[in-house]
């Protein structure tokens, strides 16, 4: 986001054809520079696609789950997915279905799967937030500092998942689990954050977040 802003013309700058071309060239060079590390990732994504075939049974093709029982993995930050799989594998996070799936994954598997799901576009939200919960939900995300880690639009970054457009039931279950201390937590942040939420707050948040745009 910030990187893109740099290439916008300054206020009052006249956009000439030559200027536009120069800008385009700079932008292309920047894209190329950004693409360099992903040359390594490209192979990983392909390997990840193979390895993800088994995931599709529950999480849907490309991680675009249509079943509210299983979270949407498409478009999740790679570091989040590799961390979540790691926690399942190490027994820190437990789930009857996921724990055995993750038990025998290698570190390379974790990263290939994470790269693959990160490369899939996140599907648009499958539902709309109840109008009465739009403002209340937004307030809760600010008051509880959700935006500090999950980002201003709650699209996730680094080890923090995209919660915008995730399934309502899944979000409710995670927040309830964090509050109860039954959902594993990387560093205690989410468990602490959920302590201040009432069951009603959790309902409002799940409703609000599940209806947010995913881009």
């Amino acid at each position: 986001m910030r990187a893109r802003l740099q290439f916008q013309p300054q206020a009052g700058e006249r956009k000439t054809a030559a200027g536009a071309i120069a800008l385009a060239a700079v932008f292309a060079a920047a894209l190329f520079a950004l693409a360099m590390p992903s040359a390594v990732l490209a192979a990983d994504i392909k390997a990840g696609e193979q390895k993800a075939q088994v995931c599709a049974a529950c999480h849907g093709p490309g991680g675009k789950s249509a079943n509210p029982m299983y979270p949407i993995l498409a478009g999740q930050p790679a570091q989040f997915t590799s961390t979540a799989l790691f926690e399942f594998r190490e027994g820190k996070r437990k789930n009857a279905q996921m724990s055995p799936m993750a038990a025998n994954l290698s570190n390379a598997d974790l990263n290939d799967l994470a790269a693959y799901f990160a490369a899939q576009p996140a599907p648009p939200p499958l539902r709309q937030t109840t109008p009465a919960n739009v403002a209340a939900g937004r307030d809760l995300t600010v008051k509880n500092a959700c935006i500090a880690c999950h980002g201003a639009k709650l699209l996730g970054q680094q080890q923090m998942p995209r919660i915008a457009g995730q399934f309502q039931d899944y979000l409710r279950a995670q927040l309830t689990g964090f509050k109860a201390g039954t959902r594993a937590d990387m560093d205690g942040t989410m468990s602490s954050a959920a302590q201040g939420l009432s069951p009603q707050d959790i309902d409002v948040l799940a409703d609000y977040l599940s209806g947010l745009p995913t881009q």
């Binding site: 910030r2 570190n107 390379a108 974790l110 500090a148 602490s192």
Partner: protein, 403 residues
Amino acid sequence: MKINAALTAALLLAAGGIAHAQQAAAPAPSWQQGMSGDQSTSTLHPLAGLVTGRPASELQLGKLKVPPGFKVEVFADGIPDARAIAIGDKGTVFVGNRNQSNVYAIVSNGGKREAKVILKGLNSPNGVLFNKGTLYVAERERILRYDGIENNLDNPPAPKVVIDGLPQQPGHFWKTMAMGPDGKIYFNIGSPGNIVLPGYIQASISRVDPDTGKFEVVATGVRNSVGMDFDPRSKKLWFSSNARDWLGDEGPADILSMVKYKGEEHGYPYCHQGDMADPIYGKLRSCKEFAAPVHKLGPHIAPLGMRFYTGSMFPAEYKNNIFLAQHGSWNRTVKQGYNVIRVVVDPKGRVIKSEPFLEGFLTDEKADPPMWGRPVDVQQMKDGSLLVSDDYNGVVYRVSYSK
């Protein structure tokens, strides 16, 4: 905004232990504790390492810079969450974990160097220390010793407990250790939150006799020291410490300091960087009552591992200099640190100069994340080269020198 501020204030009161009218007290995560109401829309957050680490082939090694004549290379990868480093008598390199639960040994196997897990299932074994055949491991609430471990890396001996029952605290629970000239193990007990009144023996540096288990507090008011070493000339204990967060980009500074006598008070939570009264606790005691730091390193720069250089590989002027790893800030809108610095100090404890030694991890001071690697500890090898751990990538680098 007013509502936010009031709510945040209520949460802070709840965190401070004052009963909340409606529901159970909701402690903020320790890194968030101390945020003011007008910071509720801040997007600053701690950074997490890559849980699997990254292979050397994927690192931006070309970005790393060292002074002329020096060379930096990857010594070993495949050590996710690489934290403190210790060197065995036989040359084994031991590496601890903070968020994960392993201790690694880097060994040479038929000319090929490999990192392998030798201890697992430990509780945040951040600190490792080697002395006279024994590996000491500092977990969250205790320190263990593994005698003769270098002879049995594949089947380590059962540990003995040096000290147990240290505080079960949130916040800064990870430990680092240094071996004193008195044969005692010096270690930190961090503060249990960002800015709180610490309990007895918290926010301190203490020492324990590994043979008798006798425990003593050496210095108090040390918010969180993750690096300490003794000046080989004066035999004084030096330490780095991380200052509180959420007072803005410009302060307080993290510090490099020295303990002049047992029981010396270093200011936290009342006074930061020797001359900045805390907005909450500063009313209770004056900065004049406390030891001032030797050197202000910079706000939110996160100084961690430090060692006096005693080797002979580097040029003579490096002798007795301090190498200090700076893990880099998160609680600052413009990031700094993410490097190893060289601090020249005289035997009396004065700083002559401070300059970057290994840098290039920081790629964009305003980006999130701003870096591709984070130095944690520095350790001198027997040949005089310097190892540097990086917990973001799970890598140990080696810096060497030749004319």
